[in-house]
């Protein structure tokens, strides 16, 4: 089973890479077919993990990042638009997916070890919403990066930046749902909804970063620039925290 998972992971890595190359070359039909194959293989690997381990595939770094690439791939395929500019939002989504799959290279490519709480509803919801939040924040980051790197940013304000902001708001909803599930988990397991510990502080830092991104004052282009940088940095913070948790 482990070999099948590694084969599946390598295959989806290959097809996502091919998708990026053909997309940059604007081979219209080919990149679409390749991306559909990549997302399908990605989904099959997740299904294989779920069947072989008996739990949802988002409890270790490998599972979590594969789940994120699946959602990101779906969003890139179905919810992004192709622009005249070669490196557009969709390109950034494929680049982000390849970046995540490269991070996965450094982690064991196997299902997470058994934990007795993996079937507990609030634990599942906590991890599930975390993964959703990470996927949507990376999708919004793709918009922010595209906006920030554009020369004539004014033209993209209402289109790209606004969409990035929307997905950052969706991230906030998912992340808060995860936090709420975590609070119930903590309350039932340790008798309190808050703990003075690294994990809780990291979650608070993420919430504060999200709040920061929405509270940048001003409506001029400089404020938009700062907003987009903070939005993209928030995605990086969330990803770093997720990966460092896996390392520990």
């Amino acid at each position: 089973m482990k070999h099948l998972i590694i084969v599946g992971y390598s295959t989806s890595y290959f097809f996502y890479s091919a998708t990026l190359i053909t997309y940059l070359l604007r081979w219209r039909n080919l990149w679409q077919y390749l991306s559909i194959i990549a997302v399908t293989v990605n989904f099959l690997v997740l299904l294989l993990i779920a069947i072989s381990s008996g739990h949802f595939p988002f409890f270790n770094v490998f599972e979590c990042l594969l789940f994120v690439t699946f959602i990101l791939g779906g969003l890139g395929l179905l919810y992004s638009q192709t622009e005249k500019h070669r490196i557009d939002v969709r390109s950034w989504v494929w680049i982000e997916i390849l970046f995540l799959l490269t991070i996965v290279l450094f982690f064991p490519k196997e299902p997470s070890l058994y934990r007795s709480n993996q079937t507990f509803l609030w634990v599942v919801l906590f991890h599930g919403f975390r993964v959703l939040a990470l996927a949507t924040v990376l999708f919004s980051a793709a918009h922010f990066i595209r906006f920030r790197l554009a020369r004539r940013r004014k033209l993209l304000r209402n289109h790209i930046l606004f969409r990035g902001k929307n997905f950052l708001l969706l991230t906030t909803v998912f992340f808060l749902c995860s936090e709420y599930s975590g609070m119930i988990w903590c309350q039932t397991g340790w008798g309190d909804f808050w703990h003075w510990s690294t994990t809780f502080f990291q979650s608070t830092v993420i919430i504060l970063c999200l709040m920061f991104a929405f509270h940048i004052p001003g409506k001029n282009h400089r404020s938009d620039d700062i907003r987009s940088v903070i939005g993209a940095v928030t995605a990086l913070v969330m990803l770093t925290i997720q990966v460092t948790k896996g390392l520990s």
């Binding site: 969409r163 340790w190 008798g191 909804f193 003075w196 509270h215």
Partner: protein, 276 residues
Amino acid sequence: MRKISEQLASLYVTTIILVVLILWFAWGILLAQSNTLAHEFDVMNSTLAHAWFSRTQGLSLLMKLWFVGLCVVMALLAINLIFCSWVKILKIIRIKLIMSKLVMLIIHVLFGVLALGHFGSFFLGYRYENVTLQQAQSFVLNDGYILCVKDIHFVDNPLVLEKSPKELGPEDYHHEDNFSEVALSRKGKQLTSGRIYFLRPLIYKNIQVTLKRFAPPKGKTGGNPALQKPGVKLVVSKNPVKCLVFFLFPVMIVGIGVYMIMTWRQPKNKNATQQT
């Protein structure tokens, strides 16, 4: 006076406070990872805030400074929130009622109440951490309640309790079958009783009895048969603001969701880039 209130209500102040809070929690992460301060964090997790400042088991100066600093920054954020909300209320009354702005105002008020409730939970109620009891033993709470462990039902080999929970496989430990039966009484009258499992506590009014883990048996052979059974490590807590926080938090999430739906449609822009 008007200038001061405008300053206090400004978004610039909010962003500065948020940056300071991010840095403060980043410092907190470093402190929490330090081995020398592990005991201090245990104290913070097992007692309420007034004990942190007691002379006998209080926190070190560094941790006190960190916590007081956090409270000061949060107080500044609260002042900023009050002034900012007041300005928004005035705008809504005087100028125009925009539904999305009203929803955002409600979200901010909810956040303020939640933060206050969270802060209150550090001071109100009580908390007893790691109450280790054997079968038929009891523990007296400070408001006159008596917690009694009536039975401990442990189906697995007690030797697994010597291992770390991370080392246990599904065959080693059956968390659905291991439980303890506890009862809460006051003035000789039993008020409630029930089974507590891992992640399934007993709740009576605001009091929660949580099974943290099973403890290895104290006596291995002969003597008292109760001591040959595993014991239980319990957390007994009472948090009067728990219900408020657990009710308002999802309301705030729903509020953000509603705001997101209301503002999802992008404004029209003639200059938008051409799509293919």
